[in-house]
């Protein structure tokens, strides 16, 4: 009996291979987006872990020179000779590869080693250990897959030679120090100790980026589940007559349900496997852009190639299985509750959905209320995401109610029987379509929210670049001597020379970069402040106040007038400026105070103000006359283009994910309409009999979908803007440390509407055509068979 029932149920797929395909495709798409995003995140995180292990970052206290210059080897030895157990690191880039030189004899246990387990012969010649695909000219390299991407590590002597480095980039302070040691400053002056917490932890910095990706992944999953639900609903709906027959033949309901559940499990896994494979390709295609973005924004090296990690393919399969089972659970539950012979009464389903709608609406309102509370208390990433989640879910739950109200209004205003039927029939179909429409709602809202955030970011950032990269040329001296000569060379030739000197300090105990710019109109004219006291620049240059960036103001909870403690001086905050794309706190003090505090500091980088038409000539002079390497002279336009390029890549990723979610939502509509189209014939047959042509019916079907999409968009727009607000004002602040002004982009929303309408129309086209081409004999049979 069981075997026969199984064969009967399975035979359905043989006759409806297209549905079989769509069910699998739904499962696969849901899984693909989820596992794709997971794969990207897993890859990036593995890269950070490797980087942290390679560099000892986040693990060890580090010592750097206050003036940003290398630490002399003599100073290193002096520290060791009085009992400071420190180990030197030389770091730099060679042909884009991050070279790290460590001193193996003094390096802390575990540096460069965590998780590395490789077998190799002891090298007899200078050797670099490199991550996959990295090569360095003239040096033996050993590929070490566990190493952070784009990294080469080797003995400090070898790396110093390769980089031409004089001195030491930084010193790692070993965790075990001798029982007694003199204070650092009594041994070597001008050194700065940085404890491992703070701005240098790559993982923490990039969290926000991954959070955005995770949000996408989560959303994709929700959208995918809606699809799976639709697909399963279709299959169960259409097999209802079959179930009725089987039960009439004596197969127990329990057996039928068990068989169908097992069938679903197998199909879910199959779809999941396909999805994981697709997800792999999505991730592989997007990863280079993600890697470039992270590299550009945070200097974090992420491999451009994807490793197959259990964490994402397992989670992908799990999601497919869970999603599939959850979707079928509701269908099976429905099936078990339906009266034995109620199978072919669509209206009954609608009524039942009507009762459910009340509960759903209450749940939705509850969710929105929770979102409201989260909006009031949100102060971190967790509450930020809780806010996002409740907002989206609440809106999705309320959608049927809102659409129903809109349709009821349409029905009341309708003129003529055809239109009255149109509205009433749309209302009846709403339960069957609402899942797909909810998916569409979420996809559109996410599209609006994320693109608003990203575009706001871009707009702000471009403006910021114009302010901050005000100088026409940026030149870098080769060393301190060269810097002095360069200043003399430039004097008189240009409008002004702006030394860019940066010293790592602790400001109120937080790591920050200290700048002491000269008093120049460049700063007075171009810098925009989020808040400032009057005559801010005069106060700063008089040494009576400091300006700080927004990141520091958030992290240190500093407002105008608050005192900021720097090494050797404490001054009030008189200005706060936006500083986008920079994770680290900044402090600006007057030039004179800066020079008093750090008399030995010598700038190596300069901004040069010169008439735009003279830029090319000056560049030429610097290179050919003065002899500066070409790479040391950077045209401001070049930096800007580079910075913008980074953001373009962010948009590429965002844009691609937007398209994918929208496409998936369109697919959901297609599936739902296919589900309904089978049941539609009995409902349409009377209209056809009353004189409506199949062509007219076809157009009405498409119009219905397009109209529902438009209504959904109307609801999605405020939701999307709310989403953008949460992303900009809550999540962004928590993750990046700055708040972005929100800009709205009406034209892009209109474009999205058109996109969505096209997608929905396209999705409706096939079911409508199918309906329109129904042989008239089928329509006639409706009356003959009397259902």
């Amino acid at each position: 009996m069981r075997r026969q029932a199984l064969i009967a149920l399975l035979s359905y797929w043989r006759r409806n291979w297209l549905q079989f395909f769509t069910l699998l495709a739904g499962l696969a798409l849901a899984t693909a987006l989820w596992s794709g995003v997971q794969a990207i995140n897993a890859e990036a995180r593995a890269s950070y872990d490797a980087a942290a292990a390679t560099l000892g970052e986040g693990q060890y206290t580090q010592i750097t020179a206050n003036n940003g210059l290398p630490i002399a080897v003599e100073d290193y030895v002096a520290l060791r000779r009085v009992g400071w157990l420190v180990s030197p690191v030389v770091e730099g880039r060679l042909d884009g590869v991050r070279l790290i030189g460590v001193e193996p004899l003094t390096a802390p246990q575990g540096i460069g080693t965590t998780a590395l387990s490789i077998e190799a012969e002891l090298p007899s010649e200078p050797t670099l250990w490199v991550s996959s695909g990295v090569s360095v000219d003239g040096v033996t390299t050993v590929e070490t897959p566990e190493l952070a991407p784009n990294t080469a590590i080797g003995d400090i002597g070898l790396v110093s030679d390769l980089l031409g480095a004089q001195g030491i980039s930084r010193l790692l302070v070993l965790s075990d120090q001798p029982v007694r040691q003199p204070p650092l400053e009594s041994v070597v002056q001008g050194l700065n100790v940085q404890t491992p917490q703070g701005g240098s932890d790559i993982g923490r910095l990039t969290d926000s980026f991954h959070l955005n990706l995770t949000a996408f992944g989560f959303l994709s999953f929700v959208v995918g589940i809606f699809i799976v639900n639709g697909a399963v609903g279709l299959a169960f709906e259409q097999r209802r007559p079959l179930v009725r027959t089987l039960r009439a033949l004596g197969v127990p309901l329990r057996t039928v349900i068990a068989i169908m559940a097992a069938e679903m499990a197998v199909l879910s896994l199959l779809g999941g496997v396909i999805g994981v494979v697709i997800g792999y390709f999505i991730a592989a295609a997007l990863l280079p852009d993600v890697a470039a973005t992270l590299q550009g924004l945070y200097g974090a090296d992420v491999g451009g190639t994807l490793a197959i990690r259990p964490v994402w393919w397992l989670s992908g399969l799990g999601i497919a299985l869970l999603g599939g089972m959850a979707a079928s659970a509701s269908a099976l539950w429905k099936l078990s509750r339906m009266p034995l012979l109620a199978g072919a009464q669509p209206r009954a389903w609608s009524m039942q959905a009507g009762r459910g709608r009340v509960i759903q609406t209450i749940a939705g309102l509850f969710m929105l209320a929770a979102a409201g509370i989260f909006a009031l208390i949100a102060d971190g990433l967790v509450t930020g995401f809780a806010l996002l989640g409740t907002l989206l879910l609440g809106a999705a739950l309320l959608l049927p109610m809102v659409l129903n109200a809109a349709l009821a209004l349409g029905q009341r205003l309708a003129k003529g029987p055809v239109w009255e039927w149109f509205w009433a029939d749309t209302r009846q179909q709403l339960p069957g379509l609402s899942l797909a429409l909810a998916a569409l709602l979420l996809a559109m809202a996410a599209n609006i929210g994320v693109s608003t955030m990203v575009s706001s970011f871009r707009q702000t950032f471009v403006g910021f670049l114009d302010q901050r990269l005000a100088a026409e040329l940026y030149v870098t001296a080769r060393d301190e001597e060269d810097a002095v000569a360069l200043e003399q060379f430039l004097a008189g030739k240009v409008e002004s020379v702006l030394p860019i000197e940066q010293i790592d300090v602790e400001a109120n105990g937080l790591p920050a970069e200290l700048y002491g710019p000269i008093d120049d109109r460049t700063y007075r004219d171009n810098w925009r402040f989020l808040s400032q006291v009057p005559q801010m620049w005069d106060i700063v240059q008089a040494g009576e106040g400091v300006a700080i960036n927004e990141q520091l103001s958030y992290r240190g909870d500093l407002q105008l007038g608050d005192m900021l403690e720097l090494p050797g001086i404490t001054l009030p905050v008189v200005g706060i400026y936006g500083d986008y794309g920079n994770p680290i706190g900044q402090v600006i003090i007057g030039r004179e105070v800066f020079k008093e505090l750090y008399p030995d500091s010598q700038a190596l980088r300069y901004g040069v103000r010169v008439l735009p038409e003279d830029v090319a000539a000056l560049t030429d002079q610097l290179v050919s006359e003065y002899g500066l390497p070409e790479a040391n002279v950077i045209n401001q336009a070049g930096i800007k283009a580079y910075s913008l390029d980074i953001f373009e890549r962010t948009f590429t990723v965002t844009g691609a994910l937007n398209w994918l979610t929208l496409g998936v939502a369109g697919f959901a509509i297609l599936m739902s309409l296919l589900t309904l189209s089978g049941m539609r014939i009995p409902q349409l047959a009377p209209l056809w009999a009353l004189g409506l042509t199949r062509g007219r019916l076809e157009r009405l079907e498409i119009l219905r979908t397009v109209m529902l999409t438009a209504w959904t968009f109307v609801f999605a727009l405020p939701l999307g803007l709310a989403l953008a607000w949460v992303l900009l004002a809550v999540v962004n602040v928590a993750a990046f440390g700055w708040r972005l002004p929100m800009f709205v982009f009406p034209t892009s929303y209109v474009f999205l509407l058109v996109q969505a309408l096209i997608a929905a129309g396209a999705a409706a086209l096939w079911p409508a055509l199918k309906l329109g081409r129904t042989p008239t004999s089928h329509l006639l049979k409706v009356f003959a068979n009397e259902r």
Partner: protein
């Protein structure tokens, strides 16, 4: 050799140490070899000999606290060369390793330091006896070293002459003729302070400096040694070692209270383990019968703290001992090559 972690690969200079004591028997390719009849030249020979593969400055001290408690202190600087030369800066092939220990009757503190030649972090002067690695320092007037929770700071003074082992400093280590240059300063009076945790302990006693350098001190089949430096209550001293290999090879120097020496070749000196004891490392003999019949010596040597295992990159047992029997006194015992 399978290196489990990159650290080990990066630490390849340490292979010189990491190979353990058995590695001391490997080839001397390119390095100078000790020659019989060498005339020592001081203070130059107090300094480093980079043309030789290995070298050490090795001090052990038996100390007594004001309360009468026995202490032992070790200060060691090893030099190991990857190539028979010295160079300035990071490219120096000279690798330095410091070991220090402080032993009480029931505790054994150890510390280890590594350093690179060429930059001044570790080294030895050829102007006077002066050796250092990081903040650990040794000369004929003071000696200091520290760990995370202990430290010693000791004043030294010479009370006798330098002593040369074997054939006037040419110390043969096997029947095959492997040898090292080996001299000592066993007459060092000590006065100073031990710090354990927050407690300062005033101590006095005597120390013994060993200086040795070579390129291939052991024969290939030799796996380790048991080395004794004993100071008897009557002022005489004995240095004796037993090299374990296919055959046991022994050598000893009797040092009179005035610094006069008598060298004893293979077989004269005998040391037999009487009792093993578990340590934080392997089980090792901590009770010995030591004999030198030509001097009427037949004593029992027992460890003050049986667990004086050095759990460092190169592992061995090193600790203070007491001597009873025909002679009484105290001294130091070093046992290497146990696994």
């Amino acid at each position: 050799m399978n290196a489990r972690v990159l650290a080990l690969l990066l630490l390849w200079p340490l292979a010189a140490f990491g190979q353990g004591f058995a590695g001391l028997g490997s080839d001397a390719d390119g390095f100078a070899l000790p020659q019989r009849g060498y005339t020592f030249d001081f203070p130059t020979d107090h300094g480093a000999h980079p043309e030789y593969r290995i070298e050490w400055w090795y001090v052990t001290a038996n100390l007594t606290g004001d309360d009468g408690a026995e202490y032992g202190v070790q200060w060691t600087l090893f030099r190991s060369a990857l190539a028979p030369e010295e160079a300035a800066g990071w490219s120096s092939p000279q690798v330095w390793m410091g070991h220090a220990a402080l032993t009480t009757e029931d505790a054994h503190f150890t510390a280890e330091r590594f350093g690179r030649g060429g930059i001044g972090q570790a080294g030895a002067s050829d102007q006077q006896l002066s050796a250092w690695i990081d903040d650990w320092e040794l000369d004929f007037s003071h000696m200091t070293a520290s760990g995370t929770d202990w430290r010693y700071d000791l004043s030294l003074s010479e009370t006798g002459p330098l002593v040369f082992h074997g054939a006037e400093g040419y110390s043969v280590k096997s029947a095959g003729g492997q040898a090292s240059y080996y001299y000592s300063q066993p007459f060092l009076a000590v006065d100073g302070t031990l710090t354990i945790g927050n407690e300062d302990i005033h101590v006095t006693g005597n120390a013994w400096l060993d200086r040795e350098w070579s390129s291939q001190p052991l024969a290939e089949d030799q796996s380790g040694w048991d080395w004794f430096s004993l100071s008897f209550d009557d002022g005489d001293k004995l240095m004796g070692f037993r090299l374990r290999g296919a055959d046991t090879y022994t050598s000893a120097t009797w040092i009179d209270a005035d610094g006069g020496t008598t060298a004893y070749t293979d077989g004269a000196f005998m040391a037999e383990p009487l009792e093993n004891s578990p340590t934080s490392g392997p089980e090792v003999p901590v009770l010995w019968q030591v004999q030198l019949p030509e001097r009427g010596l037949d004593v029992t040597v027992s460890a003050i703290n049986p667990d004086s295992w050095m759990p460092l990159t190169t592992q061995y047992w090193e600790g203070p001992v007491t001597v009873t029997g025909t002679h009484t006194g105290r001294g130091y015992l070093e046992m290497t090559g146990y696994e």
